[in-house]
Amino acid sequence: MDLRFTEQQEILKKSARDFLTKECPKAKVRELEKDPKGYDPALWQKMAELGWLGFNIPEDYEGMGYSFEDLNMHIEEVGKNILPGPYISTVVNTFAIVAEGTEEQKKEFLPKISNGQLILTLAWLEENGQFDASGITLKAAHKGNDFVLNGTKMFVDSAHVSNYMIVIARTKDGAGEDGITAFLVDSKSAGLKTEVIPTIAADHLCEVVFKDVAVSAKNVLGKVDKGWAILQMLVRKGSILKSAESLGGLQAVVDMTIAYSKERVQYDRPIGAFQALQHKMSDMWISMGTSKYLLYEAAWMESEGMPSAKEASMTKAYINEAYKLVSALGVKLHGGIGTSSDHDVPLYYRRAKAADTVYGSTDFHREMVAQQIGLK
């Protein structure tokens, strides 16, 4: 047992920190919230040059081939800084091609992703807002060997600037897990229309309407009717990595709150000297500590190829709530200034709410945990 970061991880963390501090200051974060694209293509290219988009792509496909755990540590740093755009989404979705793609698909997609030429998003949720299999109603009708898609997907991360999307669709009547298929769909396909939804984190989630969108059989990811397992894998890995981002944000809030409380003077002393505030900051710090190793364990297990569904769901459920709570305390401990969009703390507070339902809400993941711990 050795629960320290490896030297490699320390380097990865530091380089992410240094890069983002320079390339993505909070002024840029604010700017990108209002930007129609929601991400900075120039920055995206720089990230690609650093290998960020190929961390989890094997070297054979022009990637870096890093471990899941390394990726996790890296994303924690990304979350600490905040990086608007479909970075985490692209990286997570890449796993589907790495794990389930045909050789042809791998050759087509992975080098492009790694080189920053392809943004890959996931079209999963629908207007019913459900996370379970019965929520999938978008229809992919067989047409010869190919398919025609009709329906609406919601909350698709940056669909409007994406190049491809993994669309989770129903290829067989029914509401169960069987009969769901994952497709790689060109975002510029005829009949496909995207519109940005105004959200709390201004993170450019989209509505995507499919009207008779034709998809070739070669763009089926994995097996027809067996796509639910692919989504489950994305949910598991995505839950861990989204939690890493959230944990980073949580830490940033803890750090800035403690720092502010040492500077801000009221009644002739730093407000950090007031015991009621001290105890809240202790609680925030404890929340951070318990979140950390829960996440690291899940990431380590996933990295080692151990079954980690339980730990991933525990992590997402726990850190969802911890991040919301800690960032709300952060706002309150800052007082008035913490409620202004000129201050950084609300940037995190809003993202905590946005992160909440990405790859499944707290209650969804608690239900996963309930099943995993053997509740009948």
């Binding site: 019965s134 309150k332 409620t339 201050h343 709410k353």
Partner: protein
């Protein structure tokens, strides 16, 4: 104990609710809640419109002494606040009606009363407050903006912050350090000021959701006539304390919660997930029922405050309890309602939104009542020191 309203009050309530129900229909589409009067022209215009409608009926001078145009009773005032809260309506200038008017009545000169009370009652002028400063938030005694007397004027310089609504208000009341050599608590002067005065610069501080509610107000050699001093020169601290005594029952915030729960019940009955109404989800039922009970608890306590005020008792500690509890309940309401909406919880007012985006709105706006008018932390100190008699650490 008697929770019943008199027949007259029941009739008055009916009348008030009717007027408010009509006004509700005229709300601008962009309306979201208590930030809306300040966030845009449309909101401010609706605020003034409602105020005029209330003024017309004499409802902005409820409980004032007859000689200053007073109408109705304290309980009528509560009933108006109740209806406004339920229908989420503006129209009662919190600074003019709730804070300054009772302060003038208690501590103002006859001249000031005669000049300002009618204008307030008629909704001719709206006030704002020049209060906190960058280094004097909770700790008001630390303020530094200065008012130096020169003849029959004060020359005021400094910076005020966390001001609500200066970008629309007609007049302001504020407190300034008027004697740098005098002892603490005897060096402040409370002065009214026309916001059109030369030397006033207003700069918005955007709220976390982008709304324009708060301002920095820079005062640069602003001339304030000495006749606009409330109370005695250098004794503004006493006036501040009088004003702090006019805590509101917060029944309007509470009634907003009552309405919020009703809307949430309706939404859960009408919207399905997985083929079943959300209302069938046992966890949702449990959470909404818990909210409803908490709302009813604070509603009854707010009436307790109103009942005390109606008898000219202050009920300051109970009022602080209502403020803390209701504002934190609003935060919880924001959490629970966004959770119930699932991924839609994050959606802002738009064609994509459920519940007109109010869940997302409250998720952020809840900090306004938590942090303002004495943060809840300060309110807890006050309860501990003055309510429970616990010792104050030096």
């Amino acid at each position: 104990m008697d929770f019943r309203l008199t027949d007259e009050q029941v009739a008055r309530r009916k009348e008030i609710y009717k007027v408010c129900e009509e006004l509700d229909k005229k709300k601008p589409k962009s309306w979201l809640g208590f930030e809306s009067p300040f966030d845009n022209e449309e909101g401010w215009a609706f605020h003034r419109y409602c105020a005029k409608e209330f003024a017309k009926r004499g409802w902005l001078a409820l409980s004032w002494p007859k000689e200053y145009g007073g109408t109705g009773t304290m309980m009528d005032k509560v009933l108006l606040a109740e209806a406004r809260g339920y229908y989420d309506l503006p129209g009662s200038d919190i600074f003019g009606i709730s804070m300054l008017a009772p302060t003038l009545i208690a501590a103002g000169s006859e001249e000031l009363k005669k000049e300002f009370l009618p204008k307030i009652a008629n909704a001719e002028i709206m006030f704002c407050e020049l209060w906190s400063e960058p280094n004097a938030g909770s700790d008001l005694a630390a303020l530094t903006a200065s008012a130096i007397k020169k003849g029959d004027e004060f020359i005021v310089n400094g910076q005020k912050t966390w001001n609500t609504g200066a970008h629309y208000a007609d007049w302001a009341f504020g407190v300034y350090k008027s004697d740098p050599n005098a002892k603490k608590h005897h060096n402040l002067t409370f002065i009214l000021c026309d916001m059109k005065s030369k030397g006033i610069t207003v700069k918005g501080i955007p709220y976390m959701n982008g709304a324009h509610v708060y301002n920095e107000v820079y005062l640069d050699d602003v001339h304030m006539p000495a006749k606009y001093v409330v109370g005695q020169e250098n004794e503004g601290w006493a006036v501040v304390n009088v004003l702090a005594g006019f805590e509101r029952s917060n029944i309007d915030m509470v009634m907003g919660l009552v309405r919020g729960v009703e809307d949430l019940v309706k939404f859960c009955n009408e919207n399905k997930r997985d083929g079943k109404p959300l209302a069938h989800d046992p966890m949702i039922r449990n959470k909404i029922a818990d909210l409803a009970a908490s709302v009813e608890a604070v509603r009854t306590l707010a009436y307790r405050v109103a009942d005390q005020q109606n008898r000219n008792e202050m009920g300051l500690m109970d009022a602080a309890a209502v403020k803390i509890f209701a504002s934190e309940l609003l935060e919880k309401f924001g959490q629970i309602s966004t959770d119930i909406l699932g991924p839609y919880g994050q959606v802002k007012q738009s064609k994509f939104a459920k519940l007109n985006g109010t869940a997302e709105y409250n998720y952020q706006a809840c900090f306004v009542p938590i942090v303002s008018m004495g943060t809840n932390e300060i309110q807890r100190n006050i309860i501990a020191w003055y309510g429970l008699g616990l010792p104050r650490m030096k």
